[in-house]
């Protein structure tokens, strides 16, 4: 099974966000991590490769030079080879532009399965996996929590609002991975040492004219200050009154 998995370097979810020049994240002092949903994609790639008995995992990122760190992490977890589509402006690229760039790189390669995180936790667009699959003319199943591949048929499960869907599609296929699909492994010391000898290609990549323009970025409005109504059960009647008469939500 030939698998390509995709990763993105993103600010940690515990980081405080500050704005630079009114339209982008100020990276000063921000801790960057491997996008948490991409960890599920890497883990799934390793498990599917093991299950198929033989195979190859290429991990790909459209990112700045710094993204080598996240690619090395993926190699240390168990991916075989890494490719960085390098562009200093990549961290600010929109989903459609990212998808277009990745599609061009994927087209030049053979694959059976594409594995994405269901979203990045920075721009949260949820669209790169489905957009790449559509441009390639292959099916895609998003937000997958259970995956079985038998005899070239993918059977996947995902949660939708108020229910669960079971979806079938033939290979080659793209999957976007949701929490619950698997338990991502930590890179072992042996894996980290091995990753240093694996290939990490860096290709300077043009992304063309972006398909989305950021007009501005701002902090969300502050919530008006609330108030403590009291302590313990004695405060419950005051809460009921406030919800009915002030907030008018009952």
């Amino acid at each position: 099974m030939k698998i390509i998995t995709f990763v993105k370097r993103v600010p940690s979810t515990t980081t405080r966000v500050l704005i630079k020049d009114g339209n982008a994240l100020d990276p000063t002092g921000v801790e960057f991590i491997l996008n948490p949903y991409d960890e599920f994609a890497i883990e799934e790639a390793i498990q599917q490769k093991d299950k198929s008995g033989d195979g190859h995992i290429l991990v790909m990122s459209f990112g700045s030079a710094d993204s080598q760190k996240e690619l090395r992490t993926a190699l240390a977890m168990g991916a075989d080879e890494a490719l960085l589509l390098q562009n200093p402006d990549a961290p600010n690229a929109d989903g459609a532009t990212t998808a277009r760039t990745l599609t061009a790189a994927v087209k030049a390669r053979e694959f059976d399965l594409l594995l994405f995180g269901k979203q990045s936790v920075d721009k949260e667009q949820h669209g790169v996996g489905p957009a790449v699959a559509t441009a390639l003319g292959i099916p895609c199943i998003t937000e997958v929590t259970k995956l079985d591949i038998t005899d070239g048929t993918v059977r996947a499960e995902r949660e939708v609002e108020g229910g669960r869907e079971i979806i079938e599609a033939p290979l080659p296929c793209a999957i976007t991975c949701q929490k619950g699909l698997n338990q991502p492994r930590f890179a072992s010391l042996k894996g980290i040492m091995a990753a240093k000898r694996k290939t990490l290609d860096i290709v300077d990549t043009d992304m063309g004219t972006p398909l989305v323009e950021v007009l501005k970025m701002e902090m969300p409005p502050e919530r008006p200050a609330g108030r403590i109504l009291g302590e313990g059960v004695a405060a419950v009647p005051a809460l009921i009154t406030a919800l009915r008469e002030e907030a008018k939500v009952l």
């Binding site: 929109d94 998808a99 489905p130 979806i167 398909l211 701002e218 969300p220 009291g230 302590e231």
Partner: protein, 318 residues
């Protein structure tokens, strides 16, 4: 003239509630751009209510002949119809299916997309959208520079138009896809999904353990239409399923009422519920950050307070 296409979402022949919000948003956008047509498209057959869709803002409803949902099939159908209508924008709901279709449609139309938007603007004759990023820690306002503006809209942020009037209902052919939904299992328990509910009762580590969840269920039972939510710590501990997780790595919710019980208010949780209209926090730690974000707070033990709250709520909601 502007033509906006709205993709309706149906399941088991029933329209999802967020679809009417997307129709309403399209109506306002079309009017804001100087007048135009709103066409709603269902990618699978269902029995459309011409007056409720017309009232919500649709001029026309197209129903494709597919009998099962195929995401790639739906994207092909929607892209074909968008081209036939020469639509300048396509709106969807930012549900699981909608977010999925959004990226596909943009790719099929060789355009950009704006996902999970919380407001739409029509300044100067062009569309722009504001959307939360970094888990709601910041907002960005963006403009799509492609032939067709594709945008998904976060549920509970837009309203239907309530303008009266009927929509014209017509049929159209459906494209087939390679992937297909073979089975849909309804969620057990009868409570709505946390992302769709208008009221949410949510628990954190301060609940003490999964055996304490009957306390939250009792409060939820006293609040018609409410859903259960949970913090990441609770889900990571295996007390509750991930489908209930609220926060940056779970679901983003914006109900009218959000009751946070035993939740300290980690930044990634706040990101997932800060859009709620009214937030109630119950926590024994008076210094918990959740109190700085809550509309109303009670300091105290959830085990003592929740049964009384359930009882008092039942009296007023019955």
């Amino acid at each position: 003239m502007t033509h906006i296409l709205v993709i309706l979402e149906t399941r088991d022949g029933v329209l999802r509630p967020a679809s009417l919000e997307a129709v309403g948003a399209a109506r306002i956008a079309a009017d804001g751009l100087g007048g135009g047509t709103v066409t709603a498209l269902a990618c699978e057959t269902f029995s459309a209510d011409a007056s409720s869709l017309g009232n919500a803002g649709a001029d026309k409803v197209l129903i494709a002949s597919a009998t099962e949902h195929s995401a790639d099939g739906a994207a092909l159908t929607a892209a074909r119809v968008a081209k036939e209508l020469e639509a300048s924008a396509v709106f969807l709901s930012a549900t699981v299916r909608g977010k999925d279709l959004c990226g596909r449609l943009a790719a099929a139309l060789e355009s950009g997309f704006a996902a999970d938007c919380t407001s739409a603007h029509t300044n100067g004759g062009s569309l722009s959208f504001t959307r939360p990023i970094y888990g709601g820690k910041a907002l960005q306002t963006i403009q799509v520079n492609g032939p067709v503006v594709v945008a998904s809209l976060r549920p509970n942020y837009f309203s239907s138009a309530e303008r009266g009037g009927e929509a014209v209902v017509e049929e159209t052919s459906a494209e087939s896809g390679k992937g297909r939904v073979v089975k849909i299992a309804a969620k057990e328990g009868g409570r709505p999904d946390v992302a769709e509910a208008n009221r949410v009762v949510s628990g954190g580590r301060g609940m003490g353990g999964e055996s304490a969840w009957h306390l939250l269920e009792a409060v939820s039972d006293a609040l018609p239409g409410s859903a259960l939510g949970a913090s990441r710590a609770v889900v990571d501990s295996g007390w509750r399923p991930h489908s209930e997780q609220v926060g940056q790595t779970g679901k983003v919710v914006a109900p009218e009422l959000y009751i946070a019980c035993g939740i300290s208010g980690a930044i990634q949780h706040l990101a997932g519920m800060n859009g709620s209209q009214c937030i109630v926090a119950i926590n024994k730690d008076a210094d918990a950050p959740i109190f700085q974000h809550a509309t109303y707070g009670i300091v105290g033990d959830v085990a003592e307070i929740l049964p009384v709250l359930a009882e008092e709520l039942a009296k007023v909601t019955e």
